[in-house]
């Protein structure tokens, strides 16, 4: 029935769109890496909205490696002087593209749409280059989630840990009862996802901001960071031996099937639970990563528009920006994808409990300053630095490196330009 409700909502959006826009046709070519499953469905919604406005949607889908291939393609298209109308780009990369002088200015659209009041300042800051909007946010993912199978914890007689100090005890109990304590996939970005949550949990948001966003050398070399690595090493102990190279969703399956107790992963993991017919609060729990209660590491997907010469194309970009920002799209898209809307005024009634909690924490943390960008998902520092730090983290996780050594390496990696 959910889909039926979406459809009526969508129909309303379409009629609204038809009423407000003239049927001047523009072709928009949109580069994205949402090519399959629920993500592809979400993009299809956007396509429908654009078609309703009389624009032609030219799909330009390139997936693989979390957008790696798409970025390669995008660069060659820009170098060839033939950029797509819009592309999926996020975080500090928006600034890097802005500096190349190839992005279109969306200020007028943003002003007409009142984006400054609709978007929380943390989000709008990411979307702007030199004070002007150049990107449109689609969603907000929360990264510091821990997915728990309560049945497994019950059987093992373990309590869901709320601090890192409680974690080893719970994990030991799970292991003794014959379960895998932590379901994990050994790919660099997944290692990094756990690490950033550990840093946040051990050091708190202020420390996280200093170390992972400002790359402050004293913070990076501090005893707190050593402790974070120690904790990270503890997590490593509770991972099964076949974790290397495993896709994240196979790890989620382990939690769903009751083979493993918990997984540290962003809110996209929810899609796997939903697809398996599991209910939040009953079959699985979404809780904060130990020690990060109320803190929020965000990962925002967004689209940037490239400068175009024809007025048709500009009209298409305006339509696209408006369509992405429309409450109906933000709602449908995020219901499909497991994230929450980027604009604050979307009603959350249709969302599940995990998303509601995420939304509440998002709003609250944006006021207390415990809303921080996810470094593992390229929201905090430029790609080169992120990569260098990721190398250290994943090497630490996959070797016998001591925490002392890791801290030294981390500090020097953070200097990568």
């Amino acid at each position: 029935m959910n889909t039926i409700r979406h459809k009526t909502k969508l129909a309303a959006a379409i009629t609204l769109a038809l009423a407000t826009f003239s049927a001047q046709a523009a072709e928009v070519e949109v580069l994205h890496w949402w090519t399959s499953g629920g993500e592809a469905k979400s993009v299809a919604e956007l396509k429908k909205l654009m078609q309703a406005k009389g624009d032609t949607w030219k799909d330009f889908a390139v997936s693989g490696g979390g957008g790696e291939n798409a970025m390669t393609v995008l660069k060659s298209r820009v170098v060839a002087g033939d950029p797509p109308t819009a592309a999926q780009i996020k975080g500090p990369s928006i600034q890097e593209w802005g500096a190349e002088g190839v992005l279109a200015d969306l200020s007028s659209t943003a002003k007409a749409g009142n984006w400054d009041t609709l978007l929380p300042p943390v989000v709008s800051k990411v979307m702007k280059y030199k004070g002007n909007y150049v990107a449109v946010p689609v969603n907000v993912h929360r990264v510091n989630w821990m997915w728990v199978n309560p049945a497994v914890f019950n059987k093992a007689g373990a309590k869901v840990p709320t601090t890192w100090a409680e974690f080893p005890d719970a994990a030991d109990k799970l292991q003794k009862a014959g379960f895998i304590a932590v379901a994990h996939g050994g790919q660099p970005w997944q290692d990094f996802t756990i690490f950033e949550s550990v840093v946040l949990g051990v050091g708190g948001p202020e420390f996280y901001q200093k170390a992972m966003v400002d790359l402050d050398q004293t913070a990076l070399k501090s005893a707190t960071m050593t402790k974070a690595f120690d904790t990270f090493r503890t997590v490593r102990k509770y991972v099964d031996k076949d974790f290397s190279g495993r896709d994240w969703n196979l790890a989620t399956q382990m939690v769903i099937q009751g083979k493993a107790g918990m997984q540290f992963m962003g809110d996209w993991a929810k899609g796997e639970f939903t697809a398996a017919g599991k209910k939040p609060g009953k079959d699985y729990l979404c809780v904060d990563v130990p020690g990060t209660q109320g803190d929020f590491t965000f990962n925002i997907d967004s689209f940037v528009m490239f400068k175009q010469s024809s007025s048709d194309a500009k009209k298409g970009q305006e339509d696209l920006a408006n369509a992405i920002m429309s409450p109906s799209f933000q709602e449908t898209f995020n219901l499909n994808k497991g994230s929450i809307p980027a604009r604050l005024d979307v009603k959350m009634d249709k969302f599940d409990d995990c998303a509601k909690k995420s939304n509440a924490d998002f709003v609250a943390s944006s006021k207390t300053g415990s809303l921080v960008p996810s470094i593992a998902h390229q929201m905090a520092v430029p790609a080169a630095t992120t990569g260098a730090i990721q190398d250290v983290v994943t090497q630490f996780f996959n070797s016998n490196m001591s925490s002392k050594q890791a801290v030294e390496k981390l500090a020097s990696a953070a200097k990568t330009q």
């Binding site: 070519e29 890496w33 949402w34 090519t35 399959s36 499953g37 629920g38 993500e39 592809a40 469905k41 993009v43 299809a44 396509k47 949607w57 030219k58 799909d59 330009f60 889908a61 390139v62 997936s63 693989g64 490696g65 979390g66 291939n69 390669t72 393609v73 660069k75 060659s76 298209r77 170098v79 060839a80 002087g81 033939d82 797509p84 896709d247 969703n249 196979l250 399956q253 099937q257 996209w268 899609g271 796997e272 697809a275 994808k337 497991g338």
Partner: protein, 293 residues
């Protein structure tokens, strides 16, 4: 060669033959194992894959994944399966293979029958050049295609594949023509036959085996190429390997391994067909001279 070994084995024990067959059979298993897993997975239901052993036989055979992969799987916002992209690939692979083979044939002919000062250096330079990592050429090539006005088009894709395929086709033809006795061409030259005429009347008629080799090699390389395909094409024109990649890679959402495997086999059908049907000519073509320096 085969004859001699046979006379030899007549004296040898039967045991030896068994050892040979066993060894060959074992190696066959090593080669077939991945294909077996792909085929058996493509015939399983998703539940079967989730609950059972990944390398076991399917509990119940289903052809749904194949139907879905061919006609209805969603790739991007289009839910028409691999079929569209399958034909896309043919549209640039066939011209690219033919052009690069023709150019290679002419190059090989010149480099062996019409040598000039520096032709060996040119050949070496071409050989070393083919070691350039293709990732390096993406950006400057994109720029070039943009200036030529064939960026993001079938013509552009053909151009790129010909440019980076010619080194290999030249190698094949050059090594083949080197084995042809010079007297043949010399006699024709004395008779007054020209460059094109000799090529057309003498060289081309005896080139069939090596043409087959060149076509098979180029077809496999270009059909399976992902990097150029993904960078120099877009949207509806993407080749089958890019579609496969888009289908297989999902950052969120359930992975349908059965559909993935079916799609992979579908994507490989033309090259499999070429190898199995033309495999005999392939070895024959190689025998005919390509492997002789």
């Amino acid at each position: 060669m085969a004859d001699t070994s046979n006379t030899q084995t007549q004296g040898a024990s039967r045991f030896g033959r068994y050892v040979i067959y066993t060894l060959l059979g074992l190696v066959c298993l090593y080669y077939l194992l991945p294909l077996f897993i792909m085929v058996s997975t493509s015939l399983k239901t998703l539940d079967d894959i989730r609950s059972g052993n990944l390398i076991a036989l399917p509990n119940e055979v289903t052809f749904e994944p194949w139907k879905e992969a061919w006609g209805s799987a969603c790739i991007g916002v289009r839910c028409e399966g691999m079929s569209v992209y399958f034909w896309n690939s043919f549209r640039f692979v066939v011209p690219a293979v033919l052009i690069s083979t023709l150019v290679g044939a002419f190059n090989g002919y010149v480099l062996t029958m019409w040598r000039f000062k520096g032709s060996d250096i040119f050949f070496s330079a071409l050989m070393i050049g083919c070691f350039i990592p293709f990732q390096v050429v993406l950006l400057p090539m994109a720029r070039t295609l943009g200036e030529l006005g064939i960026s993001n088009s079938i013509a552009g894709l053909i151009f790129v594949h010909v440019v980076y395929g010619v080194a290999f086709t030249t190698l094949f033809f050059r090594n083949y023509y080197v084995t042809i006795p010079d007297e043949l061409v010399k006699a024709a030259k004395i008779d007054g036959a020209g460059f094109l005429r000799i090529f057309w009347r003498i060289i081309l008629p005896i080139s069939t085996p090596i043409i087959v080799v060149s076509i098979i090699w180029q077809f496999t390389q270009i059909w399976n190429d992902f990097l150029f395909g993904v960078v120099f094409s877009s949207g509806d024109r993407q080749p089958v390997t890019v579609a496969l990649n888009n289908l297989v890679n999902t950052s969120t959402g359930v992975i349908g391994y059965n559909v993935d495997m079916a799609a992979a086999i579908i994507a490989a059908l033309p090259t499999l067909f070429v190898y199995i049907v033309a495999g005999k000519y392939f070895v024959r073509g190689l025998t005919a001279g390509s492997v002789k320096g």
